[in-house]
Symmetry: C2
Subunit: 259 residues, 2 copies
DNA sequence: CGGGCATTTGAGAGTACTCAACCGATGTGG
DNA sequence: CCACATCGGTTGAGTACTCTCAAATGCCCG
């Protein structure tokens, strides 16, 4: 098992990967031009279909990838067949970097996508010459850590509605980072994916979406597409914490404890 | 505001910090002897009382710390006065390393403790010469990330009993790493701390502990001390997922969704 | 057109929360 | 030395949110 070949059905390998070096975020951010060029040369671009795996937990971590377009989910398969979704990744995001020699989780595409592959060995030999690169990796890891902790907070403190609202606002931010309006979003993941990410059942997710539609907070003009119609309302639901009045009833003030 | 002086009431600064370099885990793990010696010289030891802050979110990250004895909690204060506890740290653990120039969260002691302070600037200048050190930092960050993700999984999938059981088994592992039997544990944190960590109310935590005591799974011979009396039982409750029969009733098979 | 999949909706059950009172230990001041 | 306040913890009763089980709908694809 490794991160190439059989795992990537119908992969079309193109020559080099301009978008990687050009991206304002991602791996190259803050690197000097010469280093960016070196990364540029170490990269190749792949086109992959929805539901294919970029890599699997336990595979040898021979490469890191940046997402050029499409969306991916990072997940850990649970022994009983369920899955815990660690997070979603969008264009410009880096996936698969790790300090270990094996990937710590699966990466699966939730839509057709183009990824940019950077050889791990190349990256590491570069990072020996270029202090900025290893620092950048630590920064990225710290960002992921912060995101995981925000997610922890959401799971601990927020109601189902609050979690979904916060999730939608996260999608919005991802869209804006990539030059979108942040109002008309692609929603390629299934209710099951969202539930596995937020710690809710499919039914609960569906009910929350139904309530958001009824409340006029969002519209779903078509499958896989979502329009944020009432941003303040969503932000109130997501709340910086979990409070704020839900769409119906007195809601859950979330538990208190500290002073 | 910075990580020294006023924040550290009654701090007693001793000369150097042998235990830091000697620790088999922590910052020095895997470093060459000369590098360990350099870190050794850059470190000083502090004695701090329970409830004091090692650093606060937003403070300039001028130092990293290793816990020599005692226990600490990492937390983020929420706008409404509550707190989200990110994790607990035990002897041998490193706290306060980050890629940013500010700490991303508070670190508070839950018991009297001795910490070993390593100057950040010293650490960074070392890491420029010593590739192993920055790699080690990335490794530590990746470990924290994995722990946060485990915690996410627990919050999403496990019942209150499962979370508490998993928490106790985590304490057990920390005790064993530090040479204890893993059976007779110190439990310096309050129910509120545990609740804020696990996403439960004080009352729920208390009820779960009561149930564990009634079921003979644990004993609390005195305040702040806990004996694990039925390890298999606790492991069954904690389950690799959230299933397994609870102490009473049919319990929560946790939600399913994936294939 | 039929099968499979994702989603929706309904009814009922159960876990964890809320509110509230009480207990024991600790610490302070009269 | 004791009254009293405080803090952490425990326990009880009732509520409410989310899960479970079940069935129906709509959509895509062969």
């Amino acid at each position: 098992m490794d991160a190439s070949g059989l795992m990537m059905p119908r992969a079309a390998v193109t020559a080099a990967c301009g978008a990687c070096a050009g991206a304002s975020r991602g791996l190259c951010h803050g690197l000097e031009e010469a280093d960016q060029a070196a990364l540029f040369n170490a990269a190749s671009s792949l086109r992959l279909p929805a539901r294919s795996a970029v890599f699997r937990e336990g595979d040898r971590a021979n490469a890191v990838f940046t997402l050029k377009d499409g969306a991916a989910k990072l997940l850990r398969a649970l022994p009983d067949g369920r899955q815990q979704i660690i997070g979603f990744r969008f264009p410009g995001d880096l996936i698969g970097y790790t300090a270990r020699d094996r990937y710590p989780c699966d990466a699966e595409l939730v839509s057709d996508a183009t990824v940019c592959r950077v050889d791990r060995g190349r990256l590491e030999s570069m990072s020996r010459h270029c202090a900025g690169l290893s620092h950048r990796l630590l920064e990225l890891c710290a960002e992921d850590l912060a995101a995981a902790q925000d997610q922890l907070n959401a799971m601990a403190q927020k109601s189902a509605e609050g979690r979904v609202a916060a999730f939608l606002l996260m999608l919005r931010e991802a869209d804006r980072r990539n030059g979108g309006t942040g109002l008309d979003l692609s929603l390629p993941m299934t209710r099951a994916d969202i539930g596995d990410y937020l710690g809710l059942t499919i039914e609960s997710v569906s009910r929350v979406f139904a309530a958001l539609r009824r409340g006029g907070l969002v519209k779903e003009p078509q499958r896989g597409r979502l329009r944020l119609a009432d941003l303040p309302g969503l932000e109130a639901l997501a709340g910086s914490d979990g409070a704020a009045a839900p769409l119906s009833g007195p809601g859950r003030p979330a538990h208190r404890s500290a002073a």
